[in-house]
């Protein structure tokens, strides 16, 4: 087992040019190359700066409310009758999801770089809300790009962003979802690069974003490691997290990469089913290509056009995935499964009834897979599920499925 710092360590990636094996890199137009270099340099300095790290850690503690609890889900465990199920409660963070961990970090970088304006893309609205929140917290101007289809299915978060003083710009090009919001945010950044920092919300995009977002989200895994040792001792057998772009999964996986006894399982959205083609599971069914600044697994057609994806959860409805996940899949360090809409909905209801916890539909994919896996494991074994966000924002979607009007 190699330790961090040695040449072959899993922690020596990305390499200096931003690659994880064949994945990652910087596939952007020339206008953005200097902005990426500037960001890389700022981050490299700040990540070694004690004053910056203190600022970051203080905000994570006093503003976000970290650490988030690791919770033993006793009734869920009994129900499944197998492995002990623990939930890492990122849903209890300020703004209700893991997204804020990254936003606090990047807003602090923007502040140090002297950029008064931030922009963000959002799918479910969680990253948009987190960005609007930190913008208010640090006195930055904020503009959030959101697909018009997502705006319709996440109206609560849209209004919330507006209350926080952000401008929400509907994107009606392409599939009108997260990928198109990302395109539009890139276009804004190209135009306003002098005064604007782009807070990408996931571990995708061009280098240094996959590294930087991973580093800010790794607080999830670091806490989990310490908390699990305290509560149970040793290491969990399995860690499960949902994967859209993959930031919550990367955050909880990363501190465990070299603990090879721990199975790391990412759960993609199988939508209507992997065999229907209507899903958002590039690691399961996609092929290698280039989109949004990096080489990774993605969902495209025989001509290389990106296809429309489907998931009941807007946050997973994305045709690409972070390049480090692509690499972890190829080297066999992580596994990637998929859960369809129906099973995710069922898990959403089960967690409400058995534990009194309302999970986000995104996180419900991880809960569903974790429950099924627990049932097949021994009672001495332990699973940690990353409960990446809370489901308040999804209540209108669920109510609509149940035929209930809550207006």
């Amino acid at each position: 087992m190699k330790k961090s710092g040695e040449n072959e360590s899993l922690y020596s990636f990305p390499d200096t040019s931003g690659h994880f094996g064949i994945f990652g890199g910087k596939f952007v137009s020339e206008t953005l190359m200097s902005a990426l270099a500037e960001l890389e340099q700022s981050y490299s300095q700040l990540s070694k700066d004690d004053a910056f790290l203190k600022e970051l850690n203080d905000d994570l503690k006093y503003y976000v409310g970290r650490s988030s609890p690791l919770y033993f889900a006793e009734r869920l465990t009994q129900e499944m009758g197998g492995a002990r199920i623990y939930l890492k409660r990122e849903d209890l963070n300020h703004t209700g999801a893991h997204k804020i961990n990254n936003c606090i970090g990047q807003a602090l970088i923007a502040k140090h770089m002297g950029k008064p304006r931030i922009i963000a893309e959002t799918g479910a609205g969680q990253h948009g809300v987190a960005s609007a929140t930190v913008a208010a917290r640090f006195g930055l101007e904020c503009c959030v790009y959101m697909g018009s289809e997502d705006i319709a299915r996440q109206s609560l978060n849209v209004y919330r962003m507006k209350l926080l003083g952000a401008e929400v710009v509907p994107v009606s090009s392409g599939s009108k979802t997260l990928k198109d919001a990302l395109n539009e945010a890139m276009r804004d950044w190209v135009t306003n690069v002098d005064n604007t920092h782009y807070i990408i919300g996931t571990v995708a995009g061009p280098h240094p974003y996959p590294m930087l977002v991973r580093d800010f989200q790794s607080v999830i895994g670091r806490e989990t490691k310490v908390q699990f040792e305290e509560m149970h001792g040793g290491l969990p057998d399995v860690i499960v997290a949902c994967v859209g772009g993959g930031s919550n999964a990367m955050g909880i996986f990363h501190p465990f990469l070299e603990d090879v006894s721990v199975r790391l399982i990412g759960v993609e959205a199988a939508g209507y089913g992997l065999d229907t083609g209507k899903h958002a599971a590039p690691l399961n069914e996609g092929k290698v290509g280039v989109l949004h600044g990096n080489r990774t697994y993605l969902m495209d057609d025989e001509n290389g056009q990106i296809v429309h994806t489907h998931s009941i959860s807007a946050g997973l409805d994305y045709p690409g995935v972070g390049p480090e996940h692509a690499w972890l899949k190829d080297i066999g360090r992580a596994e990637y499964a998929a859960i369809d809409d129906d099973r995710a909905l069922q898990a959403f209801r089960q967690l409400n009834l058995l534990e009194g916890i309302l999970p986000a539909l995104e996180s419900s994919h991880a809960v569903a897979y974790g429950m099924d896996l627990a049932a097949s494991m021994d009672q001495e074994q332990c699973i940690v599920i990353n409960l990446s966000g809370r489901g308040d924002k999804d209540i209108p979607t669920i109510a609509k499925i149940d035929g209930i009007s809550i207006d």
């Binding site: 910087k26 200097s34 276009r187 280039v290």
Partner: protein, 264 residues
């Protein structure tokens, strides 16, 4: 001498026209290319439609969407070039697009096909030189040029590297922004041109923000030529189906005349 070299090094300011292949339908493109040559363009940039054209402004985005409504593929683009070459062997064609369709076809298959169809050069918007070595070799083996972009934000150090690696010509993107945005800053272009001249012996063309004869002349005074894209695509979107070619050619002729009135 290559078509590109011949066409851009002649004694007049070069005029490159950009259209998206398959906009508004597959049948329009080749005829329009011939008509634009008649109206005075020196080379044609043929846009390869892509589902996620992240560097384009709204005008060209919509052209990509129109072309994709009837699935204009990279193979279709090559077929159009092949058809154009049946009656025109001298006007260079530069394919401009994004990397994923090329990766999907495979670098070597694409390079072979493009060369045999009669393509002269490539501009790949989301492929900076750092990520290009493999494709660049494949294109070179097929005598295809790979044109790199310079931006207002490009540092001198990067500009040196880009000028050294670009082949065919160098393309200066004169605006921070997407295609078709804003108003061009002519004095800034003049300053930048002077700097780039010392770095490269290749022709330097300027694009983004050239809308008509007036802006073309202002920019062309300091460059070896200009690229006109959004202004043409915008005319195509707003002309009735039977008026597209005429409307585009009127603009091309206006810009041609403005450039020809400049000292070469």
């Amino acid at each position: 001498m290559s078509r590109l070299k011949q066409s851009i090094s002649v004694d007049r300011k070069a005029l490159l026209a950009y259209v998206v292949a398959g906009d508004p339908d597959k049948g329009t493109t080749v005829g329009l290319m011939h008509d634009m040559v008649e109206a005075g363009v020196d080379a044609i940039e043929l846009g390869v439609p892509f589902s996620d054209p992240e560097a384009e402004g709204p005008v060209i985005q919509l052209a990509h969407e129109r072309a994709l409504e009837h699935n204009t593929s990279l193979s279709d683009c090559l077929a159009m070039v092949r058809e154009f070459r049946q009656s025109n062997q001298h006007i260079p064609i530069i394919l401009m697009g994004y990397l994923n369709p090329i990766e999907t076809m495979g670098y070597d298959d694409f390079s072979n096909e493009a060369a045999s169809a009669g393509v002269d050069a490539m501009i790949i918007v989301n492929l900076p030189p750092e990520e290009a070595p493999v494709l660049s070799e494949s294109l070179k083996r097929n005598e295809l040029d790979l044109v790199y972009l310079l931006a207002p934000t490009t540092t001198d150090q990067r500009a040196e590297m880009i000028c050294a690696k670009s082949s065919g010509f160098v393309y200066y993107v004169s605006l921070k922004g997407t295609t078709g945005a804003g108003t061009i800053d002519v004095s800034d272009v003049a300053t930048k041109m002077e700097r780039f001249r010392s770095m490269s012996t290749l022709p330097i063309l300027v694009g983004f923000g050239i809308k008509d004869g007036e802006t073309a002349a202002a920019v062309g005074a300091n460059a070896d030529g200009v690229v006109v894209g959004s202004a043409i695509v915008d005319r195509m979107a707003n002309a009735g189906p039977s008026q597209i070619n005429q409307s585009v050619c009127n603009l091309v002729a206006e810009i041609r005349q403005a450039l020809d009135e400049l000292p070469a």
